[in-house]
């Protein structure tokens, strides 16, 4: 079957439906999973095909829902709990951290907890302090959890399937803006190995960028611009944050010897911290002083006037690359101009020109 170019949401929807078809124990739970919008149109197909017995509407009770999901998994169900914003999952932290993450381990390794928590990161159109947190590094601290952060439609499909059929609790974090991107992927059911943290999204020789999720997309855009100026970036997609396997990063760094990390969240005690610590401990030789590009270290302001500059942009990325590679001034200013030109096409607080507020 040929691959088709389809959207991130198509990929999600297809992955859910095919997984549910494969195994009748797969069920979906959450607030709004059966409503007309079906979590950004990702659960409607599943509902249509499998009905309310397997796509289950719930009250707004995040902590209980997380425990309920865990209880169901102990009897062989494979529940997927969905929250329309990452921020709501903080209400379920007791069950997720105290129970789910430790369950297999603390009872002696006999029980499995196959469950997925699907969380969506908000951004833009006034998604303010409580609707746009990016808590990956927090989840990633906990032994027993797997943390998955897809960046493309193709990865979304395969990673979600792998998450559903994994025997452990998986936190699946998707960025709302990824919904506006498409890529080619197979119609068939497929899984992507969760033990393979890093995927090489673009080969290059001059500098390595490691990033995840929407920032991986931005990094690729930046790399594309730089390519025109003969700057050849290697772009690595850190799509599984725990278990964390960095061999591909080390190999890449051996080649390029230059490194930038681009984060969608806060810098301090963030994802980049762990990456940098590993580089230091592994004594990886670098020719540049590497930098973590990240959100400002305060909550997202709602106002578009205030959150301009809050997130890392392709211009920030290109700027940092130019610095690292000591790109000549005139070339650099051309590059940055091009970035600005591209960025000016869509207001900074919109994922897409066709977007109409509100989310």
């Amino acid at each position: 079957m040929p691959n088709r170019k389809n959207s991130f949401i198509d990929a999600m929807s297809e992955s859910l439906v095919q997984s549910m078809q494969k195994d009748k124990n797969v069920v979906i739970l959450g607030e709004g999973v059966t409503d007309v919008k079906g979590i950004f149109n990702s659960t409607n197909a599943a509902l249509k095909k499998f009905g309310h017995q397997r796509v289950i509407e719930t009250p707004v009770s995040e902590n209980a829902l997380t425990g309920i999901q865990l209880g169901m998994s102990l009897l062989g169900k494979k529940p997927i709990l969905m929250h329309a914003r990452v921020d709501f999952s903080l209400l379920g932290f007791d069950q997720l951290i105290n129970n789910a993450s430790k369950w297999h381990y603390m009872f002696g390794g006999e029980m499995n907890v196959p469950m997925v928590i699907r969380l969506i990161i908000g951004r833009g159109w006034g998604q303010g302090p409580q609707h746009s947190q990016s808590l990956e590094s927090v989840f990633s601290h906990f032994p027993g959890l797997k943390i998955v952060v897809p960046s493309t439609a193709k990865d979304c499909k395969g990673l979600m399937a792998a998450s559903i059929f994994d025997k452990n609790p998986v936190v699946f974090i998707e960025h709302r803006w990824l919904h506006y991107y498409s890529s080619n992927f197979s119609k068939k059911f497929y899984k992507i190995d969760l033990n393979n943290s890093i995927d090489i999204k673009k080969r290059g020789k001059d500098l390595t960028i490691l990033s995840s999720s929407i920032m991986l997309i931005e990094s690729l855009k930046a790399a594309k611009i730089l390519k025109k100026y003969d700057i050849d970036i290697e772009v690595l997609d850190l799509r599984v944050l725990r278990p964390l396997k960095l061999d591909k990063l080390y190999s890449s760094l051996k080649k390029t010897k230059k490194f930038i990390f681009v984060d969608n969240g806060w810098k301090t005690f963030g994802i980049g911290s762990e990456i940098f610590a590993n580089i230091l401990e592994k004594n990886i030789f670098l020719k540049n002083i590497p930098k973590r590009l990240a959100c400002k270290d305060y909550p997202t302001p709602s106002s578009p006037h205030l959150n301009k500059g809050y997130y890392v942009t392709i211009k920030d990325i290109c700027n940092e690359v130019c610095k690292c590679l000591s790109v000549k001034k005139n070339i650099k200013s051309k590059i940055l101009n091009e970035c600005e030109h591209i960025m000016s096409k869509v207001p900074h607080d919109l994922p897409d020109l066709n977007f109409k507020g509100p989310f």
Partner: protein
């Protein structure tokens, strides 16, 4: 208790004022310059108006994502509300919070937050501080029907009852949590018995009836100050979509009959009918009133568009209080 004519007129004016402002926001929103989510209260005005009539500026309120009406009824500044929608420094939160975050110390609207149930324990803490301070205020906590599914709602009721705090819990039950109806979420739960069993006084109001809500709020306030927590439970209905400026009845998640039922119970219509009956309603005066509100709104919009936003420097300095 009898409500005099002046008060009756004032009720109508408040209902109308909020309606017009929300309607104007909906219109203006379509220009895509208010770049944040908005949860409009059109149809639900009776509760905040009725409740606010018994509150002074010193009484505290906390509320939810659907907070405009609470803020306006409490005496909040329209300029500050609009400022927040436009993300300007003149906004209630200087543009940092957006539509779902209200704060105004001038009228003790302490906070609205968009995490369902999130402001409930905060209102309880305010009630506790009031009790410790022995000041004769109340803490009013607005929340929707979905918030009664969150554990923190129960923990909060429990604590308020245990410590006998001067709190009015106000549940605006518009029957929906986004697109999901109460039946799908609450089954056969009996909210009245539930609240009472937790040693919180329960008062149900007539639907969308501002006078009834006003009267019952008076009772509630007295009880809260003298004996401890009360819950005012009030069924109502929103006319527009959960979030945004449009009518979404085309999606058909709400039965036609139900919509019709509630449109017939429009809080403003109800009030006008009553006033007409006792002959204190004057069409022309009312129209003049409406026009003046609309004019003020439009001038506020124009003013706001021209004001500046917070400087990034100031913003970056706000991580900590100093």
């Amino acid at each position: 208790m009898k409500i005099n004519k002046l008060e009756k007129l004032k009720n109508l004016h408040e209902l109308t004022r909020i309606r017009i402002i929300e309607e104007e926001i909906a219109k203006e929103y379509k220009n895509q310059e208010m770049r944040c989510p908005v949860h409009l209260s059109i149809g639900q005005e009776a509760v905040p108006v009725g409740v606010s009539r018994v509150l002074t500026k010193k009484d505290y309120i906390v509320s939810t994502h659907r907070c405009h009406a609470h803020y306006i009824a409490k005496g909040g500044s329209i300029d500050a509300l609009i400022g927040e929608l436009y993300g300007k420094e003149s906004g209630t939160c200087k543009g940092i919070g957006g539509s779902m975050h209200m704060y105004d110390k001038k009228v003790n609207h302490i906070a609205s937050v968009p995490i369902v149930g999130g402001s409930i324990p905060i209102g309880v803490g305010i009630g506790y501080a009031i009790k410790i301070n022995k000041s004769k205020q109340v803490s009013v906590i607005y929340f929707g029907d979905a918030a009664t599914e969150e554990g923190v709602f129960f923990e909060s009721l429990h604590f308020a009852a245990l410590k006998k705090l001067p709190i009015i819990f106000v549940c605006e039950d518009n029957k929906y949590s986004v697109y999901t109806s109460r039946y799908e979420r609450h089954g056969k739960r009996d909210i009245k018995k539930l609240i009472k069993s937790m040693d919180v006084k329960f008062i149900e109001t007539k639907e969308n009836d501002v006078e009834d809500i006003y009267k019952k709020s008076l009772i509630a306030k007295k009880h809260a100050i003298l004996n401890g927590p009360v819950c005012i439970y009030s069924k109502t209905y929103r006319y527009l979509e959960h979030c945004g400026p449009n009518n979404d009845d085309n999606l058909e998640y709400r039965p036609k009959k139900e919509i019709e039922y509630w449109l017939k119970k429009d809080p403003i219509e109800l009030e006008i009918k009553k006033l007409k009956k006792i002959k204190i309603f004057n069409d022309e005066e009312y129209l003049t009133f409406c026009n003046s509100i609309r004019r003020k709104f439009i001038s506020s919009i124009i003013k706001t568009k021209n004001t500046k936003s917070l400087s990034i420097k100031k913003l970056e300095n706000l991580e900590y209080a100093k």
